[in-house]
C-alpha cells in the first residue's frame, strides 16, 4: 500500500496569467463600448493598430532573445498592454503615434528589462508618455463626443484621418480637464455656461462621465473576479477625492474643479482599476498597495491642478512605479507569529 505524498497547498485555484489577462480584457469592454458610442470607432482602430504593433514587436524581440514565441504570446500580456494603450490614446490619432507608443511600450519598457514580469514600469503608460511628450499636438486632439457633435465620423473618414491625417479637424474639441485648465482664473459658473461639453454633462462633461462609469463598472467586475484587491483603487480614488474636496472652493476655476470632475473625467477610472493594479509594476503588500494608490491619487491631483498637462494619471503612475520597490521594502508584512515574539522579548527589557 502506498501513500501519495505531496506537500501543501492541496487545493489549487486554477488561475494562470492567460486567464487573468483575458478577464482584464473582458473588463475593459464597458469602457470601450462607451468610448465607441460617444466618440466613434476611433478607439477600436487604435486598439486594432496597437494589437498589431505590440504583438509584432513582442514576437520580434522574443525571437531576438531566443525565447519560445508561442508561450509568451499566448499569455496575453502584450495584448493587454495594446488594449490599454489603445484606450488611452485619443481616438483617430495618426497611425504612427500608435506605432511609436506600442514600440516604446513593448521594446523599451518591457522586453529590454527582461520581458513579462520584469518590467519596473507599466509598459502601456511608458508608451503613452513617450508619445504624449513627443507629439503634443496630435495627443491633445480629442474628438467631440456624441451629443455635441452632430454625427460621428464615418468609417471611411475615420480611416482616412488615421492613415493620412486629413479631414477630421472639425471634429476635435477640448476635453473637460483641458477646459478647466485653460480657463484659469474664471468663475466656475462662467466656465460651465460657456462650454457645452461641461454644461451637457451631469457629472463631468458629456460623454466623458459615461466612459469613466464604464471603466468603473468593468473595474468592479474585475474586483468581483478577484483579479486584484480593492486596496490600491480605493485608496487612489479616496486620496484624489480628498484633495479635490480640500482644494475646490466651488467658485473659481483656479481651485481645480469639483470632486465629480476629478473622479469622472480624464483617465481616472481607467487608471484606478486597470493601470495601478498591474501586478508587476505596482507594490505587493496590502499596506504597500494602500500607500501606492494614495500617493498616485495625490500626484494626479497635484499634476492636474498645478502642472502643465491637463491629465496626469500616466505621469503619476510612472513616478510611483519608481517608488514601488521602496514602498515594498518598508511594508513587508510580518510572517506568522514574528511580531508577537519580538514584543515578548522587548517587554522583558526595562
Amino acid at each position: 500500500m502506498s501513500f501519495l505524498r505531496a506537500s501543501s497547498p492541496h487545493a489549487h485555484g486554477r488561475v494562470d496569467t492567460q486567464s487573468v489577462m483575458r478577464t482584464v480584457i473582458l473588463g475593459t469592454l464597458p469602457g470601450l463600448a462607451a468610448l465607441t458610442y460617444f466618440f466613434g470607432i476611433g478607439s477600436l482602430i487604435n486598439i486594432t493598430l496597437a494589437l498589431i504593433f505590440c504583438l509584432g514587436a513582442e514576437a520580434a524581440i522574443l525571437k531576438l532573445r531566443k525565447r519560445p514565441l508561442g508561450f509568451y504570446l499566448r499569455d496575453y500580456s502584450a495584448a493587454v498592454t495594446a488594449v490599454l494603450l489603445g484606450l488611452a490614446l485619443p481616438p483617430y490619432c495618426p497611425w504612427w503615434v500608435v506605432m511609436v507608443a506600442s514600440l516604446s511600450a513593448i521594446v523599451l519598457a518591457k522586453q529590454l528589462y527582461g520581458g513579462m514580469g520584469y518590467n519596473p514600469f507599466n509598459p502601456a503608460m511608458v508608451g503613452y508618455v513617450v508619445v504624449l511628450i513627443s507629439f503634443p499636438l496630435q495627443m491633445s486632439q480629442w474628438p467631440t463626443p456624441l451629443p455635441l457633435a452632430e454625427q460621428l465620423p464615418s468609417v471611411g473618414a475615420a480611416l482616412q484621418q488615421v492613415f493620412s491625417s486629413e479631414g477630421l479637424d472639425a471634429y476635435t474639441s477640448a476635453t473637460a480637464l483641458d477646459i478647466v485648465k485653460q480657463n484659469n482664473s474664471q468663475l466656475m459658473n462662467q466656465v460651465y455656461a460657456d462650454n457645452a461639453l461641461l454644461r451637457e454633462g451631469a457629472l463631468a462633461g458629456a460623454g466623458w462621465e459615461w466612459v469613466n462609469l464604464g471603466f468603473l463598472m468593468g473595474g468592479l467586475y474585475l474586483l468581483y473576479k478577484k483579479v486584484f484587491t480593492w486596496h490600491a483603487p480605493l485608496s487612489m480614488l479616496a486620496a484624489l477625492s480628498l484633495c479635490a474636496l480640500l482644494g475646490y472652493d466651488s467658485g473659481s476655476s483656479q481651485s481645480g474643479g469639483s470632486l465629480a470632475l476629478h473622479l469622472f473625467s480624464g483617465a481616472t477610472m481607467l487608471g484606478a482599476f486597470f493601470i495601478i493594479t498591474d501586478p508587476v509594476s505596482s507594490t505587493v503588500s496590502t499596506r504597500g498597495r494602500i500607500i501606492f494608490g494614495a500617493a498616485i491619487g495625490v500626484l494626479v491631483y497635484i499634476i492636474r491642478v498645478l502642472g502643465n498637462y491637463p491629465d496626469a494619471v500616466a505621469f503619476a503612475v510612472l513616478l510611483m512605479n519608481f517608488a514601488a520597490p521602496f514602498i515594498d521594502y518598508y511594508t513587508v508584512p510580518r510572517s506568522y507569529g514574528h511580531d508577537k515574539a519580538r514584543r515578548a522579548t522587548e517587554k522583558q527589557e526595562p
Binding site: 504612427w96 511609436v100 523599451l108 513617450v130 511628450i133 513627443s134 507629439f135 503634443p136 499636438l137 496630435q138
Partner: protein, 240 residues
C-alpha cells in the same frame, strides 16, 4: 619612467574602444547627455573637450616630477581650469553663437571626470609623447560617441542631420543640412529631451557590448582545440 617602452597602438585602442571614456568608463555624462541634441553641438563640445584634454595631459606630463603627490590634484585642476578658460575665450571669439548655445557646458568641462582622470591615471605617470597620444585618443573616443549620439538624436528628434553646421565651421557649411525624412516629419520630441539622451546612450553601450561579445565568441571558437570524436580513458587492458 618614460623610457619604458610605450605601446602606442595599445593606448589608441584603449582610448577609442576598450576603455572608451563615454561608453565604458561612463565619465563626463553630464555634457554627453545635455548638449548632444544635434551634431553641431556635439562636435563643438567634443572638440573643446579634446583641446582641453590635450593641453592638460601635456602640461601635467611635463610637470609630473615637480609636483608632489600631496598637492597633485589641486595642481591638475588649476591646469585644467586654465585650459578650459582659454578654450571658452577662443569659442567666444570665433564661434560666438555656438558658445551661446552650449552655454554653461563649456566652463563645466573643468569638472569633466575624463580629463582629471586621464591627468591623474596616465599623464602623471607617463612621458609627454605617450600622454599626447593618450589625450588625442581618449578625446577622439569621447568625440566620436558625442557625434554618434548627436546624430542619432538630431535624426530622431527633428529629422535632420548637420543642421546649423555653419555655427562651427563657417559659412562654407551653411547648406550642409540634410532633411532626411522630408519636411512633414513630426519629430520625436522625446529624443531631444533628457530621457532620449539616456535611451540612445543605452543603445550605444549595448551595441558596443554586442560587438565585443561577438568578437569574443569568434576568438573563443578559433582558440578551442579541434577535437574530433570523444576521448576516453582506458582503465583495463585493451578493448577490441
Amino acid at each position: 619612467m618614460s623610457d619604458k617602452t610605450v605601446n602606442y597602438a595599445d593606448i589608441s585602442k584603449n582610448g577609442l574602444w576598450t576603455n572608451n571614456p563615454a561608453l565604458v568608463q561612463l565619465l563626463g555624462l553630464c555634457p554627453l547627455l545635455a548638449v548632444t541634441g544635434s551634431v553641431v553641438n556635439a562636435l563643438g563640445l567634443g572638440l573643446a573637450t579634446l583641446l582641453v584634454l590635450l593641453g592638460s595631459n601635456i602640461s601635467v606630463s611635463l610637470i609630473r616630477h615637480a609636483v608632489s603627490d600631496a598637492v597633485r590634484l589641486p595642481a591638475f585642476v588649476m591646469i585644467i581650469a586654465s585650459f578650459t578658460t582659454a578654450t571658452e575665450l577662443l569659442m567666444q571669439a570665433f564661434t560666438y553663437e555656438l558658445y551661446q548655445i552650449l552655454g554653461i557646458f563649456i566652463p563645466l568641462i573643468v569638472t569633466n571626470c575624463t580629463i582629471l582622470g586621464r591627468a591623474d591615471a596616465f599623464a602623471s605617470k607617463n612621458g609627454v609623447l605617450a600622454s599626447t597620444v593618450d589625450a588625442i585618443m581618449m578625446g577622439l573616443g569621447f568625440l566620436i560617441v558625442l557625434l554618434l549620439l548627436g546624430a542619432a538624436r538630431e535624426l530622431l528628434g527633428s529629422g535632420t542631420l548637420f543642421a546649423g553646421m555653419d555655427l562651427l565651421l563657417g559659412p562654407l557649411a551653411a547648406d550642409w543640412e540634410i532633411s532626411v525624412f522630408g519636411q512633414e516629419y513630426p519629430g520625436l520630441l522625446v529624443a531631444l529631451l533628457p530621457p532620449g539622451a539616456f535611451i540612445v546612450t543605452g543603445f550605444l553601450i549595448a551595441a558596443k557590448n554586442a560587438v565585443d561579445h561577438y568578437q569574443q565568441e569568434k576568438a573563443k571558437a578559433k582558440q578551442a582545440p579541434k577535437t574530433t570524436g570523444s576521448r576516453r580513458v582506458r582503465t583495463t587492458g585493451h578493448i577490441s
